[in-house]
Symmetry: C2
Subunit: 190 residues, 2 copies
Amino acid sequence: MSAVTGRRERERAQRHQLIVTAARELAETEGWDAVTTRRLAERVEYSQPVLYSHFAGKDAIVSAVALDGFGELAEQLGRARAAVAAPGPVALRAVCRAYLRFAAERPALYQAMFVMPTDLAFATDETPAPMRACFDEFVGCFPAGDEQREPLAEVVWSAVHGMAVLADSGRIPPDGQEGRLDLLIGRFTG
Amino acid sequence: MSAVTGRRERERAQRHQLIVTAARELAETEGWDAVTTRRLAERVEYSQPVLYSHFAGKDAIVSAVALDGFGELAEQLGRARAAVAAPGPVALRAVCRAYLRFAAERPALYQAMFVMPTDLAFATDETPAPMRACFDEFVGCFPAGDEQREPLAEVVWSAVHGMAVLADSGRIPPDGQEGRLDLLIGRFTG
DNA sequence: GCACCCATCCTAGCAGTGCTAGACATTCTG
DNA sequence: CAGAATGTCTAGCACTGCTAGGATGGGTGC
């Protein structure tokens, strides 16, 4: 009994991840509009209702993909910041550049994380660790003594997020990103 | 004949605007998800197909609503900037505050303008005047001689846009906006 | 004044969406 | 090996954006 349920839970978890990665791949190659429950079910070679035995609905699948993305983004930002020793302009630029590259290279994943409606809690006690980790990489770019470092991180994050989404939707020319980033960093670490 | 077509075109233009304002009202009161072609048609007391005799599709209706919004936003920003005489920190703060208030008070309209997919051209020769006017209000907050004023406007706009959308979707606490704006303005006009 | 004609509008329907109820197997248990 | 429980699928609901075809009415020429 226990052995059986153990195996079943293992298979279940495996299929859970299968759905998430399938949704993510589909979104990254064809955009979120192409991610329908039917196509997703076909992709994982199960029928539609199976999706609903794992997730409350399509939104929950998107959230799961987003959570995956936060893990990756945290890793990328962490690597960028670790490459420079101390807080300061260089660290901030490195983190922002990594952030913008992530947004540009994985637009669908970025959408799921930061623009699509989500039930994931931001900035509360129940905020999943990878999400806090992402934000903390921005915070860590400012000196530990600075009382304003959290609000500063919020503003810088807002700015790069704005740049990312406006460029992605064609509302500002995408090739000016580097220059805009220079301007931003200059003002925030002068 | 000419008189008849004249009246008909007038009626057509009237109904065109009727559809746009109905879509906008519906979106502002119940959100864009509630704006379906059926509900919109019922609202204007016509059948669905007449919508398609005025607009290529639902996206075109959203774009028309957005264009309406750009006119209003330009007016709000213009008023805010005109209240202070010269370019500088005070003007920039006034424009940004007006922008953030607009986004907070008309979230659905703001979505149509700045986050929903659109076929409206940004920053090209065919960019509609109201859209350019909005951007120019940001540009006008920097001294006329500054060669960097356009990129600076882009960055500031990106920042306030980021703040607006992240707050709207609950990704940053909405009550910190004023403080974040102070931080931003301080850095960009010090 | 009358018949024609053309523009306008609506009914009905298509293919697709997210989601679910109930029948069908398949697997484990006693 | 029978019975129970678990899992899965088929079929369907109410909805979406969008469109083809027929009816209806007003404007035009005789």
